[in-house]
C-alpha cells in the first residue's frame, strides 16, 4: 500500500541500463544519485558512448510512466544563440584560415558548444551541434536545413561569424525526447 503511494508521487524516471561485460571500448558509465525527497533515493545512471556503435545487443531500457505530456522547460533559443556567439567570436576572432588548424578548431568548437549547452541542464532534450568553418575566397554558398519534428517542443539556434579570411557557422538543434 505504501509502495503504491510512493509510486504515485514519483516524478522522476528510474532507468537501468546494462551493458554486457565485453562491451566495446570507449564506453563511460556515469552514475549520479539524486535525493528527491527524504523517503526515497532515486538513482539516475546515464551512459556516454564515445565514437562508434555498439554491435552487441543491450538490455531493453524500461522506464516508468511519468505522465508528463509536455516539457517543463523549453529549449532556450536566445541563451543558446548567446553561447554560440560567445564561442565563435572568442575562438575565431583575428584568426586566419589554415587547413590543419581549422580541422582541429571545428572539432574543438563543436565540443565546447555541446558542453556549454549541456550545462544549461535542459531536461529531456537531445542536442545536435553542427559547426562549419570555411575559407573566404570569393565563392558563393548556400546552407539550408529542414526538420521533421514536433514544432511545439523542438527548436534550433544558429549563428554565423565572418572575418576577412574565414567564416564560421554554428547550428544547434534541440529535440524533445518523451
Amino acid at each position: 500500500m505504501s509502495d503504491q503511494l510512493k509510486d504515485k508521487h514519483q516524478r522522476r524516471e528510474r532507468r537501468t541500463v546494462k551493458v554486457p561485460s565485453d562491451g566495446s571500448h570507449g564506453v563511460r558509465v556515469k552514475e549520479a544519485t539524486i535525493r528527491k525527497n527524504t523517503e526515497r533515493e532515486i538513482i539516475v545512471s546515464s551512459m556516454d558512448e564515445l565514437g562508434h556503435h555498439d554491435e552487441n545487443t543491450r538490455m531493453v531500457v524500461t522506464m516508468e510512466n511519468t505522465y508528463q505530456t509536455a516539457p517543463h522547460k523549453r529549449f532556450p533559443v536566445p541563451a543558446v544563440t548567446h553561447i554560440l556567439k560567445d564561442v565563435l567570436s572568442s575562438y575565431l576572432q583575428q584568426e586566419k584560415y589554415e587547413v590543419e588548424w581549422s580541422q582541429k578548431m571545428t572539432k574543438t568548437i563543436c565540443e565546447v558548444i555541446r558542453a556549454r549547452v549541456k550545462d544549461l541542464m535542459i531536461p529531456r532534450y537531445k542536442i545536435v551541434v553542427l559547426v562549419h568553418i570555411g575559407q573566404q575566397a570569393g565563392q558563393s554558398m548556400q546552407m539550408s536545413s529542414r526538420c521533421l519534428w514536433d514544432a511545439t517542443t523542438d527548436s534550433f539556434a544558429c549563428y554565423s561569424f565572418t572575418n576577412s579570411s574565414l567564416f564560421g557557422v554554428a547550428t544547434v538543434y534541440g529535440v524533445y525526447f518523451e
Binding site: E49, H53, D54, R58, T62, M63, N65, Y97, V99, S102, Q103, M105, T106, K107, I109, C110, E111, I113, R114, V117, K118, K126, I127, V128, V129, L130, V131, H132, I133, G134, Q135, Q136, A137, G138, Q139, S140, M141, Q142, M143, S144, S145, R146, C147, L148, W149, D150, D154, T171, Y173, V175, F177, E178
Partner: protein, 117 residues
C-alpha cells in the same frame, strides 16, 4: 495495452536513406553548373524532397536534414558535429557530391520519436 516496436521499425537502413539522398540531389540539381540565382531554390528542393521521402518510410523518427551547396572555387571547408543523444536509437549520416562546379554536402540526423512500452 502494450505496443512493441519491432526491430525493423526501429532500425536505420543506411542503404535506403543513402539512396533517398542521392535521388533527391540528382532530381533537384542534376548536372547543372553553379548559379547564384538558383541555388536557394536548389537547396530548398533537395531538402524538402529528402524529408518527404523519409517521412514516407513511416518510421517513428524525427529527422534533421542539412544541405550545403558551395561553388567550387578552391576554397576549403571544414565541418564537424557533436551530438548529445542515445547512441543505440539515434544516428546520423553524411553524404557529399562533388561535380564540376558544385559541391553538395548533406547531413541527416535521426532521433527516436517516442518510447513504446
Amino acid at each position: 495495452m502494450d505496443e512493441y516496436q519491432t526491430e525493423e521499425e526501429t532500425a536505420f537502413i543506411v542503404e535506403d536513406v543513402s539512396k533517398i539522398i542521392k535521388e533527391s540531389v540528382e532530381a533537384a540539381i542534376g548536372g547543372s553548373t553553379y548559379q547564384h540565382s538558383r541555388v536557394n531554390q536548389w537547396t530548398t528542393s533537395v531538402v524538402e524532397q529528402c524529408l518527404s521521402q523519409l517521412s514516407k518510410l513511416g518510421k517513428p523518427f524525427k529527422y534533421i536534414v542539412t544541405c550545403i551547396i558551395m561553388q567550387k572555387n578552391g576554397a576549403g571547408l571544414q565541418t564537424a558535429s557533436a551530438c548529445f543523444w542515445d547512441n543505440s536509437t539515434d544516428g546520423k549520416m553524411n553524404h557529399y557530391i562533388i561535380e564540376n562546379t558544385v559541391l553538395n554536402y548533406h547531413t541527416l540526423g535521426k532521433l527516436q520519436a517516442r518510447i513504446h512500452r
